[in-house]
C-alpha cells in the first residue's frame, strides 16, 4: 500500500506492506534508526514515539493508523545538527542512560510528560516512565534528568 506519513514535520511518501508496523515503517521505510525495537509486544516502551504529541508505542500500531497524524521521533526533537533540546541535555547532564537503547523512548516520554505537567513530583515522574523499561540505570539518574529538565524548562523562554 502507499501512504503518507508526517514524520518530524515532513510528509514522507511510503510504499509498504499493509501489515507494516509504525516502528518498522519509521526504521526501514523512512530510515530513522533512533526508534528502537525492544519487545515488540507493547511492554518495554523502547519504541515510543509521539503521535500528535502523545507518547505511543510504535510497535503496537500499524503504519497505516498513523496516517493523518503528526509523528515525532527522537530525531525530531533535536533543535539542529549537533544540538540538544533541554530535555536531551538534561539526560546528558545527569547521565540518565548507559547503553542508550531505551533512551530515545525515555526522552520522548519525558517530553510528553513535561508538556502536560511542567512541574512533576518524583512520584509523577516515576509514574510517567513506568511504562518504559531500562535495564541499565535502575532509573535513578533518569528521574533526576526529568526533574532537572522540568526545572530548566520553567526557567527558559523556549519550549
Amino acid at each position: 500500500m502507499k501512504l503518507v506519513l508526517n514524520v518530524n514535520g515532513s510528509d514522507r511518501m511510503l510504499e509498504l506492506e499493509d501489515r507494516t508496523s509504525l516502528l518498522d515503517a519509521l526504521r526501514d521505510g523512512v530510515g530513522l534508526k533512533g526508534t528502537h525495537a525492544g519487545c515488540e509486544h507493547g511492554v518495554c516502551g523502547t519504541c515510543t514515539v509521539l503521535l500528535d504529541g502523545e507518547a505511543v508505542r510504535s510497535c503496537l500500531m500499524l503504519a497505516a493508523q498513523a496516517e493523518g497524524h503528526a509523528v515525532t521521533t527522537i530525531e525530531g526533537v533535536t533543535p539542529g545538527p549537533g544540538e540538544l533540546s533541554i530535555v536531551q541535555d538534561s539526560f546528558v547532564e545527569t547521565h540518565g542512560m548507559q547503553c542508550g537503547y531505551c533512551t530515545p523512548g525515555m526522552v520522548l516520554t519525558a517530553i510528553a510528560l513535561l508538556r502536560d505537567n511542567p512541574a512533576p513530583t518524583r512520584d509523577e515522574i516515576v509514574e510517567a516512565i513506568s511504562g518504559n523499561l531500562c535495564r541499565c540505570t535502575g532509573y535513578g539518574q533518569i528521574v533526576e534528568a526529568i526533574a532537572l529538565a522540568a526545572e530548566r524548562l520553567q526557567r527558559s523562554n523556549t519550549p
Partner: protein
C-alpha cells in the same frame, strides 16, 4: 609492577559529562540492527517445539517455493561446513552447533534458519517448514538430571554431569570437628538473566574478492573473531569484526557466537549480506542467554561468639542443554568464596549439570551473586541461632583493614579493603531497625536486610585452568593505542565493543590525566578487529582496571617520547625537563609547545633523536596486574582487585498480598579510586535494580510436565520498572587498590552482587516473627502469601 599515579587528580574522579551520552540522547547510537547493506537478506529461525526429540526429517520445500525465500539451512548442512562451537569444560562429546543436529535438546532450540528478502517473509516461510520429530524423554530439573536413570541430554557423554570438582582448602575437617556449633541449610537461586532491551543482532557480509568476512554484531565476547574463524574454518585474519557497533545492553550475556557463526556461514554461501535480529520470543527461548540456576547446600562451623571458622558448600548449577562457558560460572566465585569474612577453611563442590533447558550464558558477576546470596544467608542464620545482631556477627567475621593484603583459603589475595569502616558509615545513615519496628507497630510485615559482599574485578580467566587443566590460558590482557596526528590531535583506540559502560569516557579521562590535556580534546575510536590489538572484552568487571591501565601506560609512553624529543632538541637530559599540559619546559626557561613537538615528530626529522621513529604514537597491551600463574594445589589467584559493597535496606509488605516494597535502600560502596562518578553511580543503581528483579520478579519458569518455557515474553518474565526500584542512598568510601594505575577497582557488577541477598534477608526478617522463612528466589508475593496463610491457624 604498576606505578600508581597519586591524587590529587586533574580529571580522574571529577564529575564530567559522559561523552557517549551525546549521541545516544539524540538517537545517534549505531546499533547492530541499524546497519543497512545493499542486498541484505533476513533470517528467521525455526525453533524446536519439544524439549527433547530426534529430528526425523525436515521438509523445507514449501518454504523454498515462496518467492523471495533464498535458503532454509539445516543443522546437518551447517555441521558439514563448520566446526562445533567451543566448549569451556572438558566435555568433547557434548557437541554444539548453532543449529540442532539430529536431535533437539530444549524447547526453542534452533532447528533450521530461513533466509529471505525480508524478515516478514522469512517469518511467513518458517511457518511452512515441516519438521518431523520423534519425541524423547527429557529432564528439566537439575537435581533430577543427576539421577542414574535420568534421560541423557547428550547420550555420547554418558552422563548429565558436565563438571564435578571438589576442592578442599585448609583444615576443613579439623575445623568442623572442633567447632562447638554447626548449621546446614539449602538455598535456591532461580534461573533469571540480564535480559537486555536490545536482543542479539548480527549482520555478516562476505567479500569474495578479498576473502574477508565482515561482521557487525551486538556482542560482549572475549576472542569473538577467533571463535568465528575457527568455527567457519577461516584464517583469523579473514574475519573482521566491527567494534564500533553500540551494544544495547549486555551485562554478560551478549556472547552471540552461535548467531555470528550461522550468519557468517550464510553470508558466504549465499553471496549476500545476511542479517539476524532476534525478536523477543526468539531471544527469551532460543537466544541462549539465561543465567545460573543453582541449588546450594551449605554447612557452617562456628563458635559461640558467632565466628565462622569453616564452610562446606555444594553448588549444583543447571546449565541447560549445552556446556559453553557456563560451567565456569561455578569457578569464578572461588576467588571470593569466603566473601569479606575471615573463614579459615572451605570445602567446595562444584557441579554443573546438563538438562533440557535453554543453555546458560554468562551473567553479570559470573556466578558471584548467587554465591553471595548463599553465603549471606548463612551469616544471617548464625546470628539467628545465637540470638545475635546480624550487624555484630558481620563485624566479628570481617577481615580487618590491617590484615590486607589478605590471602583467602582458595588462593586469592584480596588487594585492599576496609569493611568495618564502610559498615559503620552505612549504618550511621539511619536506624533501620527502629524504622522497621515502627512499621511493624502499624501492622505491616517489615524487615531489615543486610548484605556484605565483594566484587572481584579486573577479570582474568584463572577459573579456566582451575576447572579444566587441559586449558592453560592465563593471559588476559586489554589494550589501547594512541596516535597524535600531524595537526596535534589525539586519537585513542580501544579494541572491543562497548555496551553502556562509558569506555570511551574512561579512555579519554585516563589519557587526559597523564597528558594533562582536557578529555574533550581526545577522540576515542573502536576500530575493527583486524586493526586492533588484543582485547578480552568488557567482562569480569575489568575495564576500569584493564582498559584504564592500558590507556595510562600508552599515554605514559607517549609522554616519554615527547620528553625525549624535547631533550634532544633542547640539548638537555630528559630528567631536567618538566612536562606540563602538553608543553615541555627546561629549567632555563626555554620550552617546546605541544604543537612544536608535533611538528618535530611529524615533519622535521632532522630534529628527532637519532634512531627515533617519526610520528607520535604509543600503545600498551596491559596484563592483569597479578600476572598469570597456573593453579597450584587447586589454588589460584583469581581476579586482582576486590571492591566492597554493604547493603542495608528496609522492606515492608502487607500481610495479605505480601507484595514486598523496599522502603529504604542504603548501600555503602567502595570501589577504590572512582574515575567517572556518574558512571559508577549508574552501575550501582542499575545493579541494584537488576538484583531486585532476581530477588522478587524474574524467573525463566518452565512447565515441568511439558518442558515448555512459561516465561517467554515481558508479560510473564517481569523486569523491574521505575515503580519497583526505590530511591537509593549511596555511601561512598575509597580504599585504593595498590595494584592499579589510579587505585581504582571495578564497579561494573556493583549493586547486583549483594542486593538479592539483602532483599532475601529483609523478607526473612519480616517473616521471622511468624516463624517461617523462605530460601529460594525469586520471592514472589504468591509464595510469601501462601507461606503466611499456613501460619494463620
Amino acid at each position: 609492577m604498576t606505578v600508581q599515579l597519586q591524587p590529587p587528580f586533574r580529571y580522574v574522579g571529577h564529575k564530567r559529562r559522559v561523552r557517549e551520552d551525546r549521541r545516544f540522547v539524540a538517537g545517534g547510537g549505531h546499533f547492530a540492527a541499524d546497519l543497512v547493506l545493499a542486498g541484505m537478506l533476513h533470517c528467521a529461525p525455526v525453533q524446536s517445539e519439544h524439549p527433547a526429540a530426534r529430528i526425523v526429517g525436515i521438509d523445507a520445500s514449501a518454504a523454498l517455493a515462496l518467492p523471495g525465500v533464498h535458503a532454509v539451512l539445516t543443522g546437518a548442512q551447517l555441521a558439514a561446513a563448520s566446526e562445533p562451537l567451543m566448549n569451556g569444560a572438558n566435555t568433547p562429546l557434548v557437541v554444539r552447533y548453532p543449529l540442532a543436529v539430529g536431535q533437539v535438546r530444549y524447547a526453542g532450540e534452533w532447528v533450521a534458519m530461513v533466509v529471505a528478502e525480508s524478515r516478514a517473509l522469512a517469518e511467513d516461510a518458517r511457518e511452512l517448514v515441516r519438521v518431523e520429530y520423534e519425541q524423547l524423554p527429557f529432564v528439566t530439573d537439575g537435581e533430577a538430571a543427576i539421577a542414574t536413570d535420568a534421560p541423557l541430554v547428550h547420550p555420547p557423554h554418558g552422563s548429565n554431569v558436565l563438571l564435578d570438582r571438589r576442592f578442599v582448602w585448609g583444615p576443613v575437617a579439623e575445623r568442623f570437628a572442633a567447632a562447638p556449633r554447626k548449621l546446614a541449610y539449602r538455598v535456591r537461586w532461580a534461573r533469571s538473566s540480564t535480559v537486555p532491551l536490545e536482543t542479539f543482532a548480527v549482520t555478516a557480509q562476505w567479500d569474495a574478492s578479498q576473502d574477508v568476512l565482515d561482521v557487525w554484531a551486538s556482542i560482549q565476547m572475549p576472542k569473538f573473531p577467533d571463535q568465528i574463524a575457527r568455527s567457519l574454518r577461516l584464517p583469523g585474519n579473514a574475519v573482521r569484526v566491527h567494534y564500533d557497533v553500540d551494544v544495547g545492553g549486555s551485562y554478560g550475556v551478549k556472547r552471540g557466537i552461535k548467531h555470528a557463526v550461522l550468519v557468517g556461514h550464510l553470508a558466504r554461501v549465499l553471496g549476500r549480506p545476511v542479517r539476524l535480529v532476534e525478536d523477543r520470543l526468539e531471544n527469551m527461548t532460543g537466544g541462549d542467554m539465561q543465567g545460573p540456576e543453582r541449588v546450594f547446600d551449605v554447612e557452617l562451623a562456628y563458635d559461640d561468639d558467632g565466628r565462622v571458622h569453616a564452610m562446606k558448600m555444594r553448588a549444583l548449577d543447571n546449565v541447560g542443554a549445552y556446556a559453553g562457558r557456563s560451567p565456569f560460572q561455578l569457578g569464578k566465585p572461588i576467588g571470593a568464596i569466603v566473601g569479606p569474612y575471615a573463614i579459615e577453611a572451605v570445602e567446595y563442590h562444584a557441579l554443573a549439570v546438563a538438562s533440557n533447558k535453554t543453555p546458560q550464558e554468562a551473567v553479570r558477576g559470573f556466578g558471584q551473586a548467587p554465591t553471595n546470596y548463599a553465603l549471606e544467608t548463612g551469616i544471617d542464620q548464625v546470628a539467628a541461632a545465637l540470638g545475635l545482631d546480624r550487624l555484630e556477627v558481620r563485624r566479628r567475621n570481617f577481615i580487618r583493614a590491617d590484615q590486607f593484603p589478605y590471602l583467602i583459603p582458595s588462593g586469592t589475595t584480596y588487594d585492599s579493603g576496609n569493611y568495618h569502616g564502610l559498615l559503620e558509615k552505612t549504618v550511621a545513615v539511619a536506624d533501620l531497625f527502629a524504622e522497621r519496628d515502627a512499621l511493624r507497630a502499624q501492622g505491616l510485615l517489615a524487615g531489615v536486610g543486610i548484605a556484605a559482599c565483594l566484587e572481584p574485578s579486573g577479570g582474568n580467566s584463572s577459573f579456566e585452568p582451575l576447572l579444566n587443566p587441559a586449558n592453560r590460558t592465563t593471559t588476559w590482557m586489554e589494550s589501547c593505542r594512541l596516535h597524535v596526528d600531524g595537526l596535534g590531535g589525539i586519537t585513542a583506540a580501544m579494541h572491543t565493543t562497548t555496551s553502556g559502560q562509558a569506555h570511551e569516557t574512561l579512555v579519554s579521562v585516563a589519557v587526559a590525566e597523564v597528558l594533562e590535556i582536557p578529555p574533550e580534546r581526545i577522540r576515542v575510536i573502536r576500530p575493527d578487529s583486524l586493526a586492533s590489538l588484543p582485547s578480552n572484552s568488557p567482562v569480569g568487571s575489568r575495564m576500569a582496571i584493564m582498559l584504564g591501565g592500558a590507556a595510562v601506560r600508552a599515554a605514559q609512553k607517549l609522554r616519554a617520547q615527547l620528553l625525549a624529543i624535547a631533550a634532544h632538541d633542547l640539548g638537555v637530559s630528559p630528567l631536567e625537563l618538566r612536562y606540563s599540559e602538553g608543553d615541555v619546559h627546561a629549567a632555563d626557561g626555554r620550552k617546546l609547545t605541544w604543537q612544536e613537538l608535533v611538528v618535530i615528530a611529524h615533519r622535521e626529522y632532522f630534529r628527532l633523536p637519532l634512531g627515533m621513529e617519526p610520528g607520535l604514537s604509543a600503545s600498551s597491551i596491559y596484563m592483569v596486574p597479578t600476572g598469570g600463574a597456573l593453579p597450584k594445589d587447586d589454588k589460584v589467584q583469581m581476579y586482582p582487585c576486590h571492591s566492597f559493597e554493604f547493603h542495608y535496606i528496609l522492606v515492608a509488605m502487607d500481610r495479605v498480598l505480601c507484595r514486598p516494597q523496599i522502603r529504604r535502600y542504603i548501600i555503602g560502596h567502595d570501589c577504590g579510586q572512582v574515575i567517572s562518578p556518574d558512571v559508577v553511580k549508574g552501575m550501582t543503581l542499575g545493579g541494584i535494580a537488576h538484583g531486585i528483579g532476581a530477588a522478587l520478579l524474574e524467573e525463566f519458569s518452565i512447565d515441568a510436565q511439558t518442558g515448555q518455557p512459561t516465561a517467554a515474553s515481558f508479560m510473564d518474565y517481569l523486569l523491574p520498572s521505575a515503580h519497583e526500584v526505590p530511591h537509593v542512598e549511596i555511601v561512598h568510601q575509597t580504599t585504593p587498590s595498590p595494584l592499579t594505575v589510579f587505585g581504582q577497582k571495578g564497579s561494573g557488577e556493583s549493586g547486583y552482587l549483594g542486593s538479592p541477598a539483602a532483599i532475601a534477608g529483609a523478607i526473612n526478617d519480616a517473616l521471622a516473627p511468624h516463624g517461617v522463612r523462605v530460601d529460594q528466589l525469586p520471592m514472589r508475593p504468591a509464595l510469601l502469601s501462601d507461606l503466611l496463610e499456613g501460619t494463620h491457624t
